[in-house]
């Protein structure tokens, strides 16, 4: 069933298992306590950052599959993507598996796009178990989008820190404590922000657009949710997001942001975490385990992505952004 841009899943696919790997900086925060693997070394024993990112993603996927009690043969598809050009981490990680792979690119919102597509496949009966996964690495992202790591430049105060980490979850038609009820497809929004360091401000309108459309389509109010989770708006972006919700008459008090939460201290120099790994790590560690434990019953997860490249920003284009939302439910009967 579909209303507006929201798909309602008739069979309510379940999140069968989940796994997350986080880097050494993330280890000190919330993610470190809940992630399956918290790395002490961001290189993960590899020679390049890209290989380390690929290995994190690959291990997160195999951990999730393992925790779900599945074998390679029982998984119908892997839906995965990352931030690097030609999504090399995801594609290269897929070499390690025997199941089919569908590559996605939705920048930092890849986790929710993966979950919604996996849920659609499972709900439609085309698949039994689908894995949604994504990850990012600070050093590889920095190298691609900004400057060499050793370049002695200052980070502007509105900038965010790309999360080193990967997360994966198995969406299944069978067992699972958390289920996916519906999903709202994102529209690309661009309100003209050109500052590549200010991702939060660029992405907030896309997040607000998707979340508000979700409320309208599902006839829900923000109070009906235990949490409204956004991906990586950061402290500044979250504030803008809250303002945008207020403006439209929605109460933003249940809103939390993965980027704001992931680091132990949001230093005043930067606004929190960003990157595909940010929401992937937080959802697949802290949030899913808390939902499983019954702390949160109804959650809206809207990861946000900035769809820019170095070429587009070099040509002076503004930053188009997207946000996909999935509604999750735990502690249901049956």
């Amino acid at each position: 069933m579909k209303k507006g841009n929201t798909i309602f899943f008739a069979n309510k696919p379940k999140v069968r298992s989940y796994a997350a790997i986080c880097g050494s900086k993330e280890r000190e925060g919330v993610a470190g306590r809940y992630a399956d693997v918290a790395l002490a070394d961001d290189m993960y024993g590899e020679s390049t950052y890209e290989k380390a990112e690929c290995k994190m993603l690959s291990n997160a996927v195999s951990l999730a599959v393992e925790k779900g009690g599945l074998t390679d043969g029982e998984v119908d598809a892997l839906l995965s993507g990352d931030l690097l050009t030609q999504i090399i981490s995801a594609s290269f990680a897929a070499r390690d598996f025997q199941f089919p792979y569908l590559g996605l690119y939705s920048a930092c919102s890849t986790m929710s796009e993966g979950m919604l597509l996996a849920a659609a496949l499972v709900d439609g009966g085309y698949a039994k178990n689908c894995v949604a996964a994504t990850g990012s690495h600070f050093a590889s992202a920095e190298r691609q989008y900004r400057y060499p790591l050793e370049l002695g430049c200052t980070r502007p105060p509105q900038s965010q820190w790309t999360v080193t980490g990967a997360g994966a979850c198995v969406v299944s038609s069978q067992s699972g404590a958390v289920r996916i009820v519906n999903a709202t497809l994102g529209r690309v929004r661009d309100w003209g922000v050109t500052d590549v360091n200010n991702m939060g401000a660029a992405m907030a309108p896309a997040a607000a657009d998707t979340v508000i459309r979700h409320f309208k389509d599902t006839d829900a109010q923000p109070e009906d949710y235990d949490l409204i989770i956004t991906g990586d708006l950061g402290a500044l972006g979250s504030r803008i997001f809250k303002d945008l919700l207020w403006e439209k008459g929605y109460d933003p008090s249940r809103h939390v942001d993965c980027g704001e939460m992931i680091y132990k201290v949001v230093e005043d120099e930067f606004q929190g975490g960003s990157g595909a790994g940010c929401s992937a790590v937080m959802m697949n560690s802290y949030f899913f385990s808390k939902m499983q434990a019954g702390l949160y019953k109804r959650v809206l997860f809207a990861a946000t992505g900035a769809l820019l490249s170095t070429v587009s920003s070099g040509q002076g284009e503004s930053i188009p952004c997207i946000s996909h939302a999935v509604e999750l439910e735990a502690g249901y009967d049956g």
Binding site: Y49, F138, Y147, L149
Partner: protein, 127 residues
């Protein structure tokens, strides 16, 4: 003897003050315009070239020594100075002068960078 020491100390203070002031100017520009480091380097180098061509940088170099030659404007000063000196000898030397004057610095940067790249790996950062 004492006069000499005072002169040396004064020179250090002048180098510190002038060099610091140039860097602070760059920082003020960064603060207000959020220019990237590459652009700042180019603009300051061009400023050095222009000031030297107008004859304004030479007095500063004489006044502050390393305070004026160490910042990237000093690189521009070197280039422009090479050109001006070369111009006395003819058009060919005017054209080849800038790079000749800067050759030591550029060569050092290339050679040392290559050596460092052979010796060191990039390492992950945490803050």
């Amino acid at each position: 003897m004492t006069a000499e020491i005072v002169a040396i100390l004064l020179m250090y203070i002048k180098a510190f003050a002038v060099g610091g002031a140039i860097c602070m100017t760059a920082q003020i520009i960064i603060n207000f315009t959020s220019l990237t480091s590459g652009k700042i380097l180019v603009y300051f180098m061009l400023a050095g070239v222009a000031l030297t061509a107008l004859g304004l940088y030479q007095p500063l170099v004489e006044f502050a020594g390393a305070g004026a030659t160490v910042p990237i404007c000093g690189f521009g000063y070197l280039l422009a100075n090479g050109a001006i000196k070369g111009a006395e000898k003819g058009l060919f030397y005017a054209v080849s002068g800038p790079l000749t004057a800067a050759s030591a610095g550029v060569t050092a940067a290339v050679v040392f960078s290559l050596i460092m790249a052979l010796l060191f790996h990039s390492r992950p950062k945490r803050n």
